[in-house]
Amino acid sequence: METIVIIGNGIAGVTAARHIRKLSNNRIIIVSAESDYFFSRTALMYVYMGHMQFKHIQPYEDWFWDQNNIELVNGYVTNVDTDQKQLLVDGARSLDYDKLIIATGSKPNKFGWKGQDLHGVQGLYSKQDLELLEVNAPNKDKCKRAVIVGGGLIGIELAEMLRSRDIPVTFLVRESSFWNGVLPEGESQMINEHILEHHIDLRLSTNLEEIIADENGRASAVKTDKGDTISCNLVGLTAGVTPNVKFLEGSKIELGKGVKVNHFLETNVKDVYAIGDCAEQHEPIGNRRPVEAVWYTGRMMGETIAQTICGNRMEYKPGHWFNSAKFLDIEYQTYGWVFGSKGRQSYESHFHWRHPKEKICVTVAFHKDTQQFLGINTFGIRMRHELFDQWLTNEKSIDFVMEHLVDANFDPELYLQYEKEILAKYNTDFSKSLKLKKKSNKRIFQLNI
């Protein structure tokens, strides 16, 4: 029996712990400074919006940890001594480990803006950030306007949160169109429209210059690079995240942006591993970035590392890329790779369809020469993960995908379906005459094929 210490009780650390428990009777200790129990970071917004209470975003009941013999320590790891195999918690308590998993996640970026540490300026990452937001922006009387800096997924979530309490929001986005580093033009355009119709003051191609303080040292306005001054009571900094690894400086563990790991999630020091947001691959895997700050990859790395820890050394080999998000009222899913203007290879061609009235659209990426299906983005239509995963593995052609689109529809029953219109546009765009295949349970549930 070995002692496994995991720093961080996020999805990565907790998944690792659960799977190690399944596979072994090792002693497992999770240390975290943020909360006693694991909660779903992705759901923080719903607590502020009143959809859920904090206890609802904890996926396991409190007895779960005891019953599975997973020890929880609430404390901040200040020091890691890899020679002694020892951690220091809160500068005082020491903990010995046989194997150490670092899963400390990320922290919000701050780019050295003037005034970034004033009262009323905050990011949105942790439970403490949520509590702070209740103080900074409890309602529209105390917070007359909020300015959000950074047009990514967390930024738009923060905007939605504040709007749910009728707080006026100005949204500063550096790019010329929302999230167009990732999304193709048409989609990004549609989201711009949707942001505006939610009465969010969207300012594209606009950067933060400085945050201005009032006499009490609270943020009272921001200045943009367009020369505007916008008065506000809250500044939300949501310009991306970086790995939360500062406490490891001075240890022997190699750091880059994050904790450097190889494909086996091993660091340069024996028996020390890193997973989740804080891990940085020496060599990126496929089209993926070296640091992947998403929920799913944290979970997969947790599952992989559990195997390694329990004696079955395993490489982290994620399958096909997928992701999802929600932009205000619009759901977004993606399977495979569909690139925006940034990072798109010359062979990647797109087919795009948008509903004439509703905020629904689809973009399919394919290889110009081989016609191989590369990926799909859908907005306002849910798609079946399993089928796309299989189609990507089997390197299906775009024609095949378009013909079988009905099978992949995952919208609730009785919803209006648009595959006909989509295929019609495809046929026109590429002068084809494909016919839609009928929905087949046999194919969907993969019976005998």
Binding site: G50, H51, P59, E134, M300, N312, E331, H385, Y415
Partner: protein, 534 residues
Amino acid sequence: MSTYDRSMALTGQPPKSLSRNQKLATLLGMFGLVVLVLASFNFNFQNKTLWLSIAISAISIGVFWFSKEAYSEKFPGIKNDGVWFKSISSRGFWAWIAGIALTAFYIVLYFFPEYLGLVKDGGNKGVIALFDPLSRFLSGNPASQWFVYGTLYTVAILVFGIKFMWKYRHNRYERIRTISVMFFQTAFAFIIPELMARLNGDKILNGGSLPYYDLKNMWPLNYYNFEGYRIKGFLSSGDIGFALLIFGILSVFVISPILTYRYGKRWYCSWVCGCGGLAETAGDSFRHLSDKTVKAWKIERWVVHSVVVFVTLMTTAVIYSYLGTDTSKYWLTKSTFLIGMAVLLTSVFAWVMAFKRNELQKDAQYGAIGYFVIIMVLLGIHFFSGEGNVFLFKSETLRKSYSFLIGSIFSGVIGTGFYPIFGNRVWCRFGCPMAAILGFQQRLFSKFRITTNGGQCISCGNCSTYCEMGIDVRAYAQKGENIVRSSCVGCGICSAVCPRGVLKLENGPLKNRIEGNQILLGNDVDLMTLVNQK
């Protein structure tokens, strides 16, 4: 942890408060209620038709106006902002007030109808009298407390149904389902039985008179359907009466199993049933209050299955009590009936144990065995002891205690009165024997499941929170497992509120339904094979 003010204001402090128009709408609705309350205190409204119309219109317009203010300015989408901040929907002051008022209403309705104006052997008074004109118009008879209740119940489903459709206007499944619920309540539960009452004594019924029969309400939900007086009523009413009796039996043994096989129990619980109908419409604001703990789930399974056993014993005893012993008079005698019951229960039990045992949890297996033994012993005792009481008690005692404990206290007082405290489906989850039987079939023999979309779940918890049946949907979704739970009524709300499009209610082949694919897609395939090894 939150710093917003929790006060008693109905309107809630900011962050969530009612707009001026919503306050006016609430006032208008309340005015309608006050008219009804005044009537029950024997305030004499001269023109009953006029005042009843005023009361019901005020309530309806109040609710419409309120909903319009709440939803019409907003974009289609999920409307749960501030649910946990509002006193009425988060077990605050107003929730308790509403709970107490509803509970009091049910107690009066079931046990003290005279306070509503019911007069034995005389003209109605109070609020019941207010409903006389409407009742006369429909059935030709004066109103009873049940007519008043039925009318208000139907009004509630209709007006809150429209509110619900507004709220979920982006979701066609929810809209169509709600239209269905509204239709079945209005036509089948309310109008048709009243009209049927007009036929009583008529030629087509051979002069007989039918018992009040809500056709969609089947045994064991209407536990009284096979009681002696009703059977007499059916049998005395010519071909129509006989056809209705046969329909009653077919709906239990043939129609319902077929529909449940094809669509899951949702075809009944959230598309047709009146109890479900009220829960889905008027109760929608309370769906998140259901208890999701594993402990609650355990209690649920024991309580609801005990009710099934209770209702089975009770009905057997009741039917037994009016059957004869002489085969020459009627083929169905006391003994044939009991043997029939024993054979039926044994075959169901044997089938489950033979084919479906692996799909039941350990405690469910023990429970099933235990209950089966009890029923068989009780049947046996009767057989070998000759004449006497079946099941140790008089059938009348069983019937009375069932109708008091389950029919009144559980389904009415607790089930609906406590909406604002325990959530809207307490009865359906813990008490309804019909739901338990359909659920049993849904779990073991149905095409229905909620498919989990590969690895897309972010464990946010919206699905679990808003599941009115207290199912921890997330526990399955985050593992990539399908949800096949006997208690799921297929309301579709988990799928609606999921921000990542993870859940889909659908009917498909039985194969692999429960195991589903426990793979969280996007993973390394080799790893998944390992993870799935148990």
